[in-house]
């Protein structure tokens, strides 16, 4: 009995659970999640896509039509404007008819950069309901 107690007092750390394997496991999990973590957050703008209508008539009565040609020229209501002028034009037309939505009719070969810039200008004008269409 005395000998047994003395033996126990020589290994005092054996009274709890051995944490080392759990710690190994947890650190492995941690490393896995650190490596797979991707902190990429894409920013973007949302544009609606009108479905069903393949070739809409550009002279749609209720909406402000902005056309983009293959070379990047922008036409607001059949008048050529600069990218910076899109916002002012949309604001002016919205003041006339506040309910009108904006329809961007881009040629299929128009650069996407111009499309995004135009949609951005329209959003700066306060119209977030932008619909996007393509023509041949």
């Amino acid at each position: 009995m005395l000998g047994r107690r003395r033996y126990a007092s020589h290994e005092p750390e054996s009274h709890g659970i051995d944490l080392a394997p759990m710690l190994d496991f947890v650190i492995n999990l941690l490393i896995f999640f650190i490596i797979t973590a991707v902190f990429v957050k894409e920013s973007g703008i949302t544009v609606n896509r009108s479905t069903g209508v393949e070739n809409p008539t550009p002279s749609d009565a209720e909406s402000i039509v902005i056309q983009i040609l293959p070379n990047g020229d922008i036409y607001v209501a059949d008048r050529q404007v600069d990218v910076q002028a899109v916002q002012a034009n949309v604001q002016r037309m919205r003041a006339v008819s506040p309910e009108s939505a904006v329809l961007i009719v881009a040629n299929t070969r128009a650069p996407t950069g111009v499309l995004v810039e135009v949609a951005d200008e329209v959003r700066q004008a306060g119209v977030y309901d932008v619909t996007f269409n393509t023509t041949e």
Binding site: E13, I27, K41, R49, R109, P111, T112, L115
Partner: protein
Amino acid sequence: MQAKRHVATSEDHGIDLAPMLDFTINLLIFFIITTSFIKEPGVTVDKPFASTAVNDPQGNLLIAVRESGEIWMDRREVEVRDIRVMIERFHIERPDDSVVIIADRNSEAGIVAEVMDMVRAGGIDNVSVAAVPPGGG
């Protein structure tokens, strides 16, 4: 007496691992929560600028459209007609996903429109076009 003191102090001969364990598990929980398993396209494109670009926290399915018209998704080049099937599969796996189309600023709008239609046909209506906000990033 001498032996008893030796027994009492023999436990703290190593480093106490408990605080380190707490810290490690907190880190682990942080990384588990912030992990979103984004499907990256695998190519870099020259994104257009937009001052009204907003962060899309749900946007974790990225489709890249390059200047040449190539479409990249989930680290490989795909055809327009493949997108629908892939989107349907991803949509079943994670129904609350949304798609961000990363289009080069010189890519053709027609291809972006086709990709957008295919994504919508695949069942995900939440589609946005990537743009760089004024602050960069």
